[in-house]
Symmetry: C2
Subunit: 330 residues, 2 copies
């Protein structure tokens, strides 16, 4: 598999150098692998910190900036960052009002963020933690006990980030994050495996003419392997899987997400089918975001995340944000 | 090749339905294939219209909105839209102050936009036209006489769009667009071919271990086929090819663009190398945009576009914009 890289060993560091070059509004510590908004710590603001394995870009580094994350800690590709990174990030963004860790539910991330919280608390930083576990496809998979964390992470970071930006205290920012987790579910589909720089070959074997329903963002096995389906059939399956678990009684935020290798042309066609299914199921859509935001390197495929939103969450969604990957209002 | 589609025949219409669903701030005429900002025509504003074959998303439909295009006309995949589409778009956006057509230099687009200008002028719309021909790789290629149009289209649409939004008359908007064309050059590299929905197999054969330097956005042959290169070597080649032709004496806007199938992680690493080369060549970078903006479906690869920018172009770049794919300040 050909890649636009120098050598596999420097992929993450090279990307961080690129972020530093392209985004002077961020402070990028390439050596210690922490991306921080340049004006951190922001006085009287709760800090939001996330992180996880690289390979899911723009998650998380692309979501650092006013109105969203204060800092992100990228690990190696598909590998949890180390506790030292999160502790360093917490120290860099804490204004004295505490820090919320947004943690995707993967065993390594959970353990390392827990250790980081202890380290940060030893340094006098108040830390709260929210676990994102939105993937309805599989419970107790290869890398995770319980449901896996995926697309809802974007909603948590945006909505809790807006609450923090507006000056909410740590308990309130944490409560918003928990509300978003409880209100969000996702389902993903892979049309191809992805290839990590270190291995250089696809992470699993998906034959021509087959797709994997309920895939994880590292290419973990899903619910079922099937013969190829149309965009409309995939939307039926994905949306119904989410709605079986979520049963929203309010309008939803919809993330129609590409896994990295799926063209935007196809993704918009899929968004049309997702809207069709939601209409048939009498679920109103308040906002739709279409794009490759929570990815698995070059994997072809898509995921659907729905978050049922009350007026307050809608207001937080519409609040200004200024990050490399999500930006409006400023 | 597996795709997230229903049937090849409806790919463009399906994507337009998705745009309509996801972007209530746009008016999407699915039948006639015209995407228009909802508040068009904007009183006393010059209209900006572009279009071209589909498969390059978010170009052009993703660039419709305040501060950029007033309307876009998507053709079939890699196929020029028909004159009727552009004429319809011109009529929809003309406030009486005239319309600028932004045309990528491909033979079909040039001919059809010329015919559309005649149609629109017959209806009393004053039309100017600017031809974007920034690709230094190849002159007189498969589909085009002269240099091909590619990444600079984004700069033309953003900068002329900002001038139009600020109330500039048609002559001035056209002059800004021409200045951007004259100040911009691009060079692209393919690591893989792309696959159109209609054919279902890659558009050309690029063996393992080889890349194509100077590729066109439809997969037209480039300058040279070579053994695989590192990201740093590709940056050296691409930036030097651009600088050989452009020789900027002012800071540049840099677009580090993915062709569709290249992960953002790799693209940021490439951006670091582009900045390194520009530093070595003593070219200052004023702004950098990293992402997959002018794509070729699922092609892996990248392109570099540089636009040398005076203070006025920088001001226009920083001006607010609100489109699906490029948005800040509102």
């Amino acid at each position: 598999m050909k890649m636009l890289i120098n050598v596999p060993e420097t992929v993450v560091a090279d990307a961080l150098r690129g972020m530093a070059a392209a985004h002077p509004e961020l402070t990028v510590d390439v050596e210690n692998r922490v991306v921080v908004r340049r004006d951190a710590p922001v006085a009287d603001k709760v800090g939001l910190v996330s992180g996880g394995g690289s390979g899911h870009e723009p998650l998380h580094g692309g979501f650092v900036g006013p109105g969203m994350l204060d800092a992100a800690c990228p690990g190696e590709v598909f590998t949890s960052p180390v506790p030292d990174q999160m502790a360093r990030a917490a120290a860099a963004v804490d204004s004295g009002r505490g820090v919320l860790f947004v943690v995707k539910n993967y065993t390594g991330d959970v353990l390392n963020f827990d250790m980081a919280a202890e380290l940060a608390e030893d340094e006098g930083v108040q830390v709260a933690r929210v676990l994102v576990d939105d993937d309805v496809a599989v419970v107790d998979s290869t890398y995770t006990a319980g449901r896996r964390g995926t697309g809802a992470t974007l909603f948590v970071e945006k909505l809790a980030g807006a609450a923090a930006e507006a000056g909410a205290p740590l308990e309130r920012v944490e409560a918003v994050a928990r509300q978003v987790v409880e209100s969000s579910r996702s389902f993903g589909v892979a049309l191809s495996a992805c290839t990590t720089p270190a291995r250089g070959v696809p992470t699993f074997d998906l034959p021509p003419g087959e797709l994997e329903l309920g895939i994880g963002i590292h290419g973990e096995p899903g619910r079922e392997r099937r013969g190829m389906m149309t965009s409309g059939e995939i939307a039926d399956t994905a949306v119904d899987a989410v709605l079986d678990d979520l049963r929203p009684d309010r309008p939803v935020l919809a993330l129609v997400n590409g896994m990295g290798g799926t063209p935007l042309l196809e993704l918009y066609g899929f968004a049309a089918e997702v809207h069709r299914v939601l209409g048939e199921r009498r679920v109103a859509v308040a906002r739709t975001l279409v794009g490759s935001y929570v990815t698995s390197l070059d994997m072809a495929g898509c995921s659907v995340t729905l978050c049922q939103a009350d007026e307050e969450l809608l207001r937080l969604w519409d609040a200004p944000v200024r990050t490399p990957a999500l930006r409006w209002g400023m």
